[in-house]
């Protein structure tokens, strides 16, 4: 893992990505990790050490909920899905993120 990239991955950002990924259906931790790497074209990498605490924090805040069920390879895995609150949170956070990145882009362009 590239350290520089890791540092960019602040808590809030990772949580936002997790919420976004879960919008389309429930996933287990390993899947989430693979998808983040895949979707970001391997620019962003997540370590289990960052991912799992983030998942447990979201669960504790009631934004996602978990169930144990068999995965593709028939082993039991913990699957996370969005709760209603999580869905709302995703919307607000996405708006905030967009405003933020627009603002950054604006500054970078004009400066």
């Amino acid at each position: 893992m590239n350290k520089q990239q890791g540092d960019l991955f602040k808590q809030g950002t990772l949580e936002l990505l997790i919420l976004r990924l879960l919008r389309s259906g429930s996933l287990n931790g390993w899947d989430i990790m693979q998808r983040i790497e895949l979707l970001s074209a391997e620019v962003l990498t997540v370590t289990p050490g960052a991912l799992y605490p983030a998942l447990h924090r979201l669960e504790a805040r009631g934004l996602i909920s978990a169930v144990w069920r068999p995965s593709d390879n028939n082993r039991k895995a913990k699957f996370y899905g969005l709760t209603t609150n999580g869905r709302k949170q995703l919307e607000t956070q996405r708006k905030q993120w967009e405003q933020f990145s627009d603002a950054i882009a604006l500054v970078l362009r004009d400066a």
Binding site: G29, M33, P48, Y52, H56, R57
Partner: protein, 877 residues
């Protein structure tokens, strides 16, 4: 926080292992998938596993983070910290024991004094809605009399004219009634009460009824109400007692009621008969009653006072002779009862509070010293990732644990201490004092325990958590030593200053008490036995019967071997019995109503002055020829003699007692005796006059007998003589005169004792504190001392260095303490007798004693420092 959330947190707390296992499984699944992927991409199983594990670089730490995400971190951490703290405390048990004992004593003393104050100042009286009860007193402001007992006609006017009270009733103090029960003459304390008293108190009888208005009249008053204990004790709780006739002081009375358990009024009375006064006998001049009233709903004390002022003015206008200058005072019953004790109790609470503060300071000091020794531990924890808050929390939890254990022990101690305290009170506790433990006491105890833990825990926690990693790990503790030892010096100065304040307070109290004890009360209480006899009026109807009884008894007692003199008095000095009467002196203007001077009117039998050791200064004592039909004579004391006849002999002059308009006969002065303290040891407001018992044959007299040896050895003999004269007559209040005098000053004695004990405790704590700081100083500076000595400092120089340091702290503490004491001791003014609150002798003495004691506390560590061997000291570490 919603319900599912709550449930989840609850599960996290209770199913910790299960959840940890799930976490493991989740991680395991992840590893497996990683390994599978790696194998697919061509790695060997071995390589694949290694790579997967490597990507999980911080497995345990992330597990921990997952756990803390459960939201029960705080509770879980606290539980962990508590167990950890307990382990730490058990390991350093010497420290723990010292701290817990210090706290237990401090908290115990506070809880005990608080329970005491609670029982007197805070607890409601044992009557329904007792806060609506008020006492009505007469006042004579022009004469400076704040409180005067009530006359019967005035009471009747108040009762009939007021609109502010639901009811007004009155009672005539506490009297002694004789009942023969099981063949034994017994004295029962009871009261004459007016119609309506029980209704004002809102207490209904357990059996039967209360007095009717008709029964509150002479001739119709042959009824009695019994107290619960009396009923149980003497009538075996007979449920058919109502309507039965009992003998009360040789008079047959019908039992009409039994009051419920625990009811006493006033003070300790447990038998009630109707007052049955008439205004013919009890005029507006006869002040002797206590009035009690219940405020109507919505009426305040001030409103009641306003109306009573109007009524008093009206009575004054209608009865100018008797009521001139008389007013009424309305006070809440509770304040009236507890007022005497308030100042002393509040000051005592302050004193124990200070002792607890000193204890806190001492414990804080110990904690700081220990924290220094534990610096490496904290530095290590900080290096392993513990934040400042975590270390502070750990320390605070340790403090709280110590406080809670100390507090619990202290609470137990307080129960025992309170019992001890109550045994130091020689009087019968009045009905309304109740010292049992209630919620208020428990709450107080818990509150001061937590507060204590916080006070002594906060400073060390703040200090210690400010860890400088590098410094501490490298130097092993000397880094922050400077700051910490400044904090400790500050604590020592505080301790010394506070104990000085307490010691000065105690010094003043003890000085005041010693002066009180040395007061010349004008009589010699040594080897005098006293006992009270009340002749039942129904049996001793005629005056001659009463005088004859006492004459015979005196003769019998006098003839006992070892009895040097014997006599009797109607009002024994200093036991609370008084009889104030107004005085008119022939040749002086006649003053009426509330303006005439009042004298202490004492009825005695011949030989009283010799028995009591009162000097006869002029004239003669009474003798048997001062009989019923002989001329009226009186003996006055030197105060009165000096006041009215400063330049001539009062012998042969005439005085008259009672209200002038009553035109009582003139009494010729036949003797002058030395003055005594009759009402209070502190001071007497009234001069004393004496009258022969044959002239005023009252029923109750106190026997006084001067004996050649310990008067207590004569109790049996005196009782036997009484039985031979009248087997049914109870003998009560048997005591030596020294006991009577000691009882009269029990409050100052108790307060001085408590003050001394608490201040002594504070001094001890302060000395331990200064010793600890000095010993610590020597220990941490051994290296430096070694260098000094190597460079040529002598043992003497080192000794002076250490002692100098300690004495400097002491001096600062003493200066601050003296300032504090000057500011605070004036609050004690009302408790001091003949002693100035800023008595320089006490201030200097206490400062000196404290300084000398502090010197010795520094001496041991200093001597140790002086014996340091420079070679060993330098090699050390």
């Amino acid at each position: 926080m919603n319900l599912t959330d709550l449930f989840r947190r609850w599960r996290a707390l209770t199913h910790k292992n299960e959840m940890d296992q799930e976490l493991d499984e989740e991680m395991q699944f992840h590893l497996q998938r990683d390994i599978e992927r790696n194998v697919k991409s061509g790695m060997s199983l071995e390589e694949a596993r290694y790579a997967a594990l490597k990507s999980f670089d911080r497995l345990e730490q992330s597990k921990e983070e997952c756990r803390s995400a459960r939201g029960v971190g705080l509770i879980e951490n606290v539980v962990r910290d508590v167990t950890y703290s307990l382990r730490v405390l058990l390991k350093s048990y010497a420290f723990t024991i010292v701290v817990i004992l210090t706290l237990a004593l401090g908290i115990g003393a506070n809880t005990a004094i608080f329970s005491f104050a609670n029982g007197i100042l805070l607890r409601p009286l044992p009557y329904p809605q007792s806060d609506r009860l008020a006492v009505l007193d007469e006042t004579a402001p022009k004469q400076g009399i704040e409180s005067l007992s009530v006359s019967y006609p005035n009471f009747l006017d108040w009762r009939d004219q007021n609109t502010v009270f639901e009811g007004v009733a009155t009672h005539y103090g506490t009297s002694r009634f004789a009942m023969t029960l099981g063949g034994q003459p017994t004295e029962i304390r009871g009261s004459r009460v007016s119609y309506g008293l029980f209704e004002v108190l809102r207490v209904s009888p357990l059996l039967g009824r209360t007095f009717t208005i008709n029964e509150d009249r002479p001739e119709e008053d042959g009824v009695v109400i019994l107290g619960y204990d009396l009923w149980q004790r003497n009538f075996g709780g007979d449920s058919n007692i109502i309507g039965k006739t009992v003998d009360v002081s040789r008079r047959q009375r019908t039992v009409i009621g039994v009051m419920p358990r625990g009811f006493r009024f006033p003070e300790v009375s447990e038998l009630w008969v109707p007052l049955a006064f008439t205004t013919k006998i009890y005029t507006r001049n006869d002040h002797g009653l206590d009035a009690i009233a219940r405020l109507k709903d919505g009426v305040t004390l001030t409103q009641a006072q306003t109306e009573m002022n109007t009524i008093a003015r009206r009575i004054e206008e209608q009865n100018p002779v008797t009521n001139e200058g008389l007013g009424v005072k309305v006070i809440s019953l509770h304040e009236n009862l507890s007022g005497n004790y308030r100042d002393a109790l509040l000051i005592l609470l302050g004193v124990v509070g200070c002792v607890l503060l000193v204890a806190c300071v001492n414990v804080a000091n110990l904690m700081l010293a220990r924290a220094t020794a534990r610096q490496k531990e904290f530095a290590l924890r900080a290096a392993l990732g513990a934040g400042r808050w975590q270390i502070m929390r750990q320390l605070l939890i340790e403090s709280m644990l110590l406080a809670l254990i100390g507090g619990t022990l202290g609470f137990v101690l307080s129960i025992w201490a309170l019992r001890l305290l109550l045994t130091a009170i020689p009087i019968d506790l009045p009905f309304w004092m109740n010292f049992s433990i209630d919620l208020r006491v428990l709450g107080f105890s818990l509150a001061i325990t937590l507060l204590t833990g916080f006070i002594f825990g906060a400073l060390p926690a703040l200090q210690t958590s400010r860890v400088d990693l590098n410094d501490n790990l490298k130097e092993g503790g000397r880094g922050a030593g400077g700051v910490r030892s400044r904090a400790r010096s500050l604590l020592v100065v505080t301790e010394i200053a506070m104990s000085l304040v307490l010691l000065v307070g105690a010094g003043l109290m003890v000085q005041s008490f010693l002066r009180l004890q040395r007061v010349n009360i004008g009589l010699n209480p040594k080897n005098v036995l006293t006992a009270t006899l009340v002749l039942p009026r129904a049996k001793y109807v005629k005056d001659e019967q009463r005088t004859e009884f006492f004459k015979q008894l005196m003769e019998r007692v006098r003839s006992l071997p070892g009895v040097e003199a014997a006599s009797a008095t109607g009002t024994l000095p200093l036991n609370g019995s008084t009889w104030g009467r107004s005085l008119t002196v022939e040749g002086y203007p006649v003053l009426s109503g509330g303006q005439a001077p009042s004298v202490q009117h004492t009825v005695v039998t011949p030989g009283y002055f010799r028995t009591m050791g009162i000097s006869l200064l002029a004239g003669r004592d009474f003798n048997d020829s001062d009989a019923k039909d002989s001329p009226d004579v009186t003996i006055i004391d030197e105060r009165l003699a000096r006041q009215y006849w400063p330049n001539e002999s009062p012998i042969g002059k005439r005085v008259r007692f009672g209200p002038p308009e009553d035109n009582e006969p003139w009494h010729t002065i036949v003797g002058v005796v030395s003055a005594i303290r009759h009402q209070r040891v502190q001071e007497d407001t009234d001069a004393s006059v004496y009258m022969p018992h044959q002239k005023i044959p009252v029923t109750g007299l106190s026997l006084v007998a001067r004996t050649s040896s310990n008067p207590q050895d004569f109790i049996g003999a005196v009782r036997r003589e009484v039985v031979q004269l009248d087997p049914d007559l109870p003998v009560s209040e048997v005591a030596t005169m020294e006991e009577v005098v000691a009882e009269a000053i029990w409050q100052p004695r108790l307060y001085a004792m408590l003050f001394a004990v608490f201040a002594g405790g504070a001094l001890l704590l302060a000395l331990i504190g200064i010793y600890g700081v000095m010993a610590f100083l020597v220990q941490t500076r051994t290296h430096e001392i070694g260098i000094r000595m190597a460079l040529g400092a002598s043992a003497r120089d080192v000794f002076k260095l250490i002692v100098g340091r300690g004495m400097k702290l002491t001096a600062v503490g003493v200066v601050i303490g003296v300032g504090g004491a000057i500011a605070l001791t004036r609050l004690m003014h009302s408790l001091l007798f003949n002693t100035s609150a800023t008595d320089p002798f006490i201030f200097i003495l206490i400062s000196a004693v404290l300084s000398v004691a502090a010197f010795f506390a520094c001496y041991l560590p200093a001597r140790r420092a002086a014996r340091v061997d420079p070679l060993i000291a330098l090699r050390y570490e």
